[in-house]
């Protein structure tokens, strides 16, 4: 039936008469005549399910997907393997069609899953508390900056250019309207320029934001930057890659006050950019200043353990204009997928995925450099993503690779004027040796 409306016209007419109305028109009596639509909306006509699905399939076929193409593109979204279990559990209607868990008696499933998610994020990042997730890594970073400015009562935010350009743009947009100031600093050899950071951080700096591994794939000296920030009473926010944290020292150990990042790599598909998942974790001193939903553990009237949304007095529905953030929702289903992913992989599995990412990216980089068509761009260590310098046009290279069913790395010149010829390549555990060897071979052929 049209519009998924179960009641027939007959039933609706009966309902109308039962409540003393004579026509459907009466239902809209409060809407002024002058603005009532008197024409049919210019939209497609209703279609049956087979027709709609055929249409969607036809549109989907116009896209090249990663089942057919080997994806060496990262730059903020990564092609990791997603175990079959995730789709089946996440599409259980009790998770997928449920509302926000404001009635804990009938949402212990969602609440416990979020509680487990919060715990996992803290374990990975080395932080004390985490929220139930934010829209994506970039907005999590922007909200962390806003929080830092509020906590420190300062307005300046330092961000090196090695942080993902799209994230930096989101940080800037948020800061501009809150009246905070973003100060961009430079890079040296693919890492944040430490001496410039040291010069620019003052008693007016609320926070330094860094990303490690950064947009070029290079690891930053987080501990050193933490010291620079803390010496002047500023906070340090680190945006990190969650899969890398199976191997790398976590932000907590390195001195970060807040750890954020993009959680898409944890069991969530590429999906043309969203929905993704911003994780946000902090030291316990910042607990009551954190934005976003938070789940806590408690007991019911009979002493049974359970979970509830808590610390709600921070949030918009209570604090209204004084809230740290206006955020209302979280990316609950994406966080659930991440929780299931981490549960399935566990200690051993995540380490294995991370190891293969590192080994394959190092193999790829070595072979590209050996080929003679590429030079190293930076000397810093890397995890699953690295930058090389190409002797020809990166645009032409990527176009040629596409014909071979390979999605090539990111053309850094799109975001950095001085980085023409720089190619940022991501190699996850999904890439086979054969795919990597093909990439190298085709890249060499193209450059001849």
């Amino acid at each position: 039936m049209a519009g998924y409306i179960p009641n027939t016209i007959g039933q609706q007419e009966q309902m109308l008469s039962e409540i003393g109305m004579s026509s459907f028109e009466e239902l809209f009596a409060d809407i002024p005549e002058s603005v009532r639509l008197k024409r049919r909306l210019n939209l497609p006509s209703a279609q049956s399910e087979p027709e709609v699905m055929a249409r969607l399939r036809k549109i989907a076929r116009k896209n090249s997907d990663t089942d057919t193409y080997a994806c060496f593109l990262g730059a903020g979204a990564y092609d990791h393997y997603i175990p079959a279990v995730i789709r089946h559990l996440v599409s259980r209607q009790e998770f997928a069609t449920a509302y926000t868990p404001y009635q804990p008696e009938i949402s212990q499933g969602t609440l416990q899953a979020i509680f487990e998610y919060q715990t996992l994020i803290c374990e990975l990042t080395g932080m004390d508390v985490a929220n139930a997730s934010m829209y994506d890594g970039a907005t999590a970073l922007a909200e962390a900056a806003t929080m830092a400015c509020g906590v420190k009562k300062r307005r300046k935010i330092l961000v090196p250019e090695t942080v993902n350009p799209q994230s930096r743009e989101v940080v800037s947009t948020y800061a501009r309207f809150r009246g905070n100031e973003v100060i961009n600093t430079g890079s040296a050899d693919g890492q944040a320029d430490l001496s410039e950071l040291e010069q620019r951080v003052t008693g007016e700096t609320a926070v330094i934001l860094i990303q490690s591994p950064n947009f070029f794939g290079c690891m930053e000296d987080v501990a050193a930057i933490a010291e620079l920030a803390h010496q002047k009473g500023a906070l340090l926010v680190v945006s990190c890659d969650p899969v890398s944290l199976a191997l790398l020292k976590d932000p907590g150990e390195l001195g970060a006050d807040v750890a954020v990042g993009e959680g898409q790599s944890l069991g969530n598909p590429l999906e043309f950019g969203g929905p993704y998942l911003g994780f946000f974790a902090a030291k316990k001193e910042l607990m009551r200043k954190m934005p976003g939903r938070i789940v806590g553990r408690t007991v019911d009237q009979n002493g049974r353990t359970g979970f509830v949304l808590t610390l709600q007095a921070r949030e918009q529905h209570i604090r209204r204009e004084k809230a740290t953030s206006n955020i209302c929702s979280n990316e609950a289903l994406n966080a659930l997928a991440a929780t299931i992913y981490l549960s399935l992989l566990g200690k051993q599995g995540l380490r294995e995925v991370a190891l293969q990412c590192a080994r394959k990216s190092h193999y790829a980089c070595d072979r590209l450099l050996q080929s003679g068509a590429f030079e190293p761009a930076f000397r810093a260590p890397y995890f699953q993503e690295f930058t090389v310098k190409y002797r020809g046009s990166v645009e032409k290279l990527n176009a040629a690779l596409l014909k071979e069913k390979i999605i090539g790395g990111f053309d850094a010149a799109q975001c950095y004027d001085k980085l023409h010829g720089h190619w940022i390549v991501a190699v996850t555990e999904k890439r086979t040796r054969q795919e990597i060897d093909t990439l190298v071979a085709k890249a060499v052929t193209c450059s001849d």
Binding site: G3, K62, Y99, E105, S107, E116, Q166, S167, E271
Partner: protein, 488 residues
Amino acid sequence: MTDPVKTIFNRSVPGRTGFSLPACDVPELEPNEMIPEQFLRSRAPGLPELSETDVVRHFTGLSRENYGEDSGFYPLGSCTMKYNPKMNEDAAALAGFEKVHPLQPEQTVQGCLQILFELDKMLAEITGVERMTFQPAAGAHGELTGLMMIKAYHESRGDTKRTKILVPDSAHGTNPASSAAAGFDVVEIKSDKRGNVDLEDLKDHIGEDTAGMMLTNPNTLGLFDEHILEISEAIHAAGGLLYYDGANANAIVGVCRPGDIGFDVVHLNLHKTFSTPHGGGGPGSGPVGVTKKLVPFLPGPLVEFENGVYRFDRNRPGSIGRVKTFFGNFGVIVKAYTYLCSIGAEGLVQVSRAAVLNANYLRVKLKDYYGIAYDRACMHEFVLSASSQKASNGVTANDIAKRLIDFSFHPPTVYFPLIVHEALMIEPTETESKETLDEFIDAMIQIAKEARTDPELVKTAPHTTAVSRFDETRAARFPILTWHRDEG
């Protein structure tokens, strides 16, 4: 002593894993052969160790402690918990949408661009505005984006004294919070006795410093403002802009358009009006639409269609800048697109009609048992009050909500809007059958009776769930936000 709760942590058994990878086909270097020691962690993160069966059983078990829209009636006011069509899920899961990297070359994602382009047109047509952006990931995010554009618009005209946003006292908390996040001061306008914006109070507060007004119409009382055209005129005459909070759009889709009423900026909630599932709290999508004069300020890129090819227009110097990475919650966008293809122009009109009918049906049948805050025809939702129950026997809106759980219904929204005491905000949506509505009416009447004859039963509800009435004070005073390793 048995564990109070089974979590992935206390189910963990060392050595288990639920996942397999092919053997590594490249040289198996050790971490310290690739990355210097000082970057490597010495202690593994405390992740659990579970088999695939463990994981499936655990999360299946958790799901059974939940209540979804597929489980039953979900009359949450202003949430529009309508049926989530399964065809939408299948569409979004097509490999051509799910397995596509957002930074792929445009010629390899023409289908994705087509969805964005066509849905932009459809939503603009539905709301009566010029163009949409899909970047905002949720309604609140859309509000923030819209308000930022309003600010940028005034600033671009050198009009820097417009510092205030007017918001009705019935507004959702995100309205003032978003206004503050966009750098505005918030001025609250009272509602009158009929639930409309009080025109006198409005005129007292409009001035040279008015940047704009945020309204949801119908409002959170479920009432279409009887003076909406006067409000629009007053705000515009003062040089302000009018923002439409689309949370309640389900009442008017296909019947009237915010753009025609005079709204300059609108946001829609795809997870409300456009049937995409709530996911237990997200993901949603909050596209924002604007009239012509504000189009330059939209966060980009936008999709254009020329000579049979879709492309991104990135050359947008007036834009306020990105509010999110990439293009928005694309997976959610596909679901909304599929829904609109399915119901079509004809379906949309029937949606609002049935939504408003269902709400009035409940209202008329329940108003004699509970206080009705504003006794006039409502739109897609209405607000009851449990004030008299509270006064006679101390039975509160919260108690009534909890007791409804025993009747297998999800409670309505309670204690909102703030201007009604002991509020119960009820929105049935159009996808509920008369049978379900009648069952709900019977339950509510029963509970009203219990509130008189057996108040303790209501005050200690729910009785049929595994857990009941949590100590939220304790949760907030002594927050335990993670499962510590030494517990359980």
